[in-house]
Symmetry: C2
Subunit: 401 residues, 2 copies
């Protein structure tokens, strides 16, 4: 598939990027290191959870049928035949007319089918007065109610949250099969770039994109590898690209701010492999390049920091998700009402930085090179390709940074 000769839609670009994503190998990591990683297989429960029927409150395990009609004025009187300790089997059986004290989390004895909270009871020696009827199953959790043995607890492709880690602990997953983290090579190109430690001279600018794109990729679970700044000449770029292809799983080049430079980047990627996309109907971010060399994705981002971040979010993020086999990617969004008109061009998908305040989205119209609009904004409002803009008062779904 080569879409090179025309500007493609965002959807085509995302599909092209995903189509060339190599699936990372799996590795096993300790559970304490698995948070944020992507699971490489379904994990099933190795046991019923809970493994025994247990109390969810401190109280008296009993036969619910013994408490029918019990009230303050006419309590049910049951004989307490024992107490269950934590961490041990119940070791006794409740029969009609008896009850057993069980602390929260303790095992419910055989025969009992409900538990009266201690607050609705009164004890007179070994006699327990129960002042309310107890329903079947009340205040107890039945064996296997949380997970039954063999059932899938967490699905393949899940990016593991703290809650998922808790569930994996419950099913005894000490080593977690996950996808390896993609090592992504980051290269900034441009004769105007200087290292950030330098004071730029006339016409020079610091290399913002290496750090911006690197930090964003790290937030996606990648391991960025920084190759620094390359001047806009073919042999330097070729050399760095070859180095990076040896050491990385994917490569992100940014810059080439003029058309000639971008064309040179595309030529070099094509020489090393193929260019699938050169030009996407997205603003900012039109000059995006999607290519592949030695089976590895090579993405060319625009040089402006804001543009490179938008393209990272819209196109690189789904590529990385595909590389780690992530099942579902849901960007956090928030609904808001647009505070000003935004004009766009039909056929182009626009991503406008907006600041959120009191349910309203205020566009931060800024030249795409402005870093301050990036840090002042809360997210991006998407203007679909099918419309010519949005008007003040329109509802927008804002993708939160």
């Amino acid at each position: 598939m080569t879409l090179f000769f025309r500007t493609v839609t965002v959807e085509e670009a995302v599909n092209a990027a995903r189509s060339i994503a190599p699936l990372m190998e799996r590795e096993d990591v300790p559970l304490t290191a698995a948070s944020g990683r992507v699971l490489a297989q379904d994990i099933a429960a190795d046991i019923d959870i809970p493994g025994f029927t247990r109390a969810t409150m401190d109280g008296y395990a009993l036969l619910s049928s013994d408490t029918v009609g019990a009230s303050e004025s006419l309590p049910a009187m049951l004989r307490r035949i024992g107490t269950v300790g934590m961490g041990t089997p119940a070791g006794m059986t409740a029969s009609p007319g008896t009850c057993v004290y069980v602390p929260t989390g303790g095992a419910i004895p055989k025969g009992a089918d409900g538990l009266a909270m201690v607050e609705v009871t009164e004890s007179i020696g070994d006699d327990i007065l129960v002042k309310r009827p107890v329903a079947v199953g009340e205040n107890i959790m039945v064996r296997g109610e949380d997970f039954s043995r063999g059932s899938v607890v967490i699905e393949n492709g899940t990016r593991l949250s703290a809650r998922d880690i808790g569930a994996l602990a419950a099913v005894g997953t000490t080593l977690v099969p996950v996808r390896k983290q993609p090592v992504v090579g980051i290269v900034s190109t441009g004769n105007e770039l200087v290292p950030i430690s330098r004071i730029p001279a006339g016409g020079q600018v610091r290399d913002i994109n290496s750090y911006l794109v690197g930090a964003y990729l790290a937030s996606l679970g990648c391991l960025p590898e920084y190759f620094g700044i390359v001047p806009d000449d073919q042999s330097s770029l070729k050399t760095i690209l070859e180095q990076a292809l040896k050491r990385c799983d994917a490569i992100v080049l940014s810059g080439g701010s003029s058309k000639d430079d971008r064309d040179m980047t595309a030529d070099i990627i094509r020489d090393a492999g193929e260019v699938l996309v050169h030009g996407v109907s997205i603003a900012p971010g039109k000059p995006t390049i999607i290519g592949r060399a030695r089976g590895k994705p090579v993405i060319g981002l625009p040089g402006h920091p804001a543009s490179s971040l938008v393209v990272s979010l819209v196109i690189v993020r789904p590529l990385i998700a595909a590389m780690v086999g992530q099942r579902e990617i849901r960007l956090p969004t928030r609904s808001a009402v647009l505070a000003e008109n935004i004009s766009s061009i039909k056929g182009r998908e626009d991503y406008v930085r907006v600041r959120l305040s009191g349910g309203m989205a205020f566009p931060e119209f800024g030249k795409s090179g402005l870093t301050n609009t990036l840090i002042r904004s809360d997210g991006l409002a998407r203007i679909p390709a099918g419309v010519e803009g949005l008007e003040e008062g329109d509802a927008v779904e804002v993708i939160l940074w």
Copy 2:
């Protein structure tokens, strides 16, 4: 301040936790390692950004006054006096009747106050026809427009996003002053607990909380240190607490599922220091303990996994934020319409797990020990203390996990 003798409100508990937060020391880390860390001082721009007035498009820099009234039929004709290269000063001056080719990002020559995109021009040898009027400032970014030298770029207390990292690169912050990451000791207590590598015998359960709470704390930027499982006896718990106090900046104990065990935990914290809060009007999570020993916060979480996570989010999170001096904590939320009634008790703040689907929030009513309601849910709906519940159709703000 000792609030020990009564159950306190969530707000009082959060204030108590924040009041005992020791501020972490600062350290300098490389910019590539600073993402997610909390800035320990304001960072100001060391230079004007951009450092020179530059082009935002490929085109001809010119005097806007030369293009007044220019049109397709009557273009302005200007003499091209040169081309600006990337990364070098403009090195020439535009005077009336002249223009200079500047690529995107290149320096605008002195004298010029606007730029005609190449798309609206035509060249005849060295003569350039400009077919549209150019406004003052059009397609150029003025020196210092992004940040002016000395102005604060990122404020003290900011948790650094990828965008912030980009801004720090722009102002040359190679080493970033941040707060040290809190080392938080994690202890699970309970005779019923077994390590997750074991198959629990009758009455036993695996230690879910160490991993759940540890992963959650790691997501807040802490370094969890795991002290394992401690049985419910005073001397074991005392010994572990002393060990943890030596090595950690804060300690989180979870468990003590019965009232007696929780009281013992509180007693041991009090022996080592003080207990500020024992009991919070929150569901789930009432038996929460907030204490301090050797100047370090010691938090007692409930034993149920879901309860311990809710209290971690509502009370431990603001404590950690205070420890790292984080300025603003905004939890991601989403508005939804409640799909079912939720009953609550006036005076108690309830956090109900909900699943989101099509703008509706479906409560996942589960016993608080159920792990599956945690992983099935998308977040928590908060029922404020002042109401007795919420009804189907009410608007709720859901805190996303």
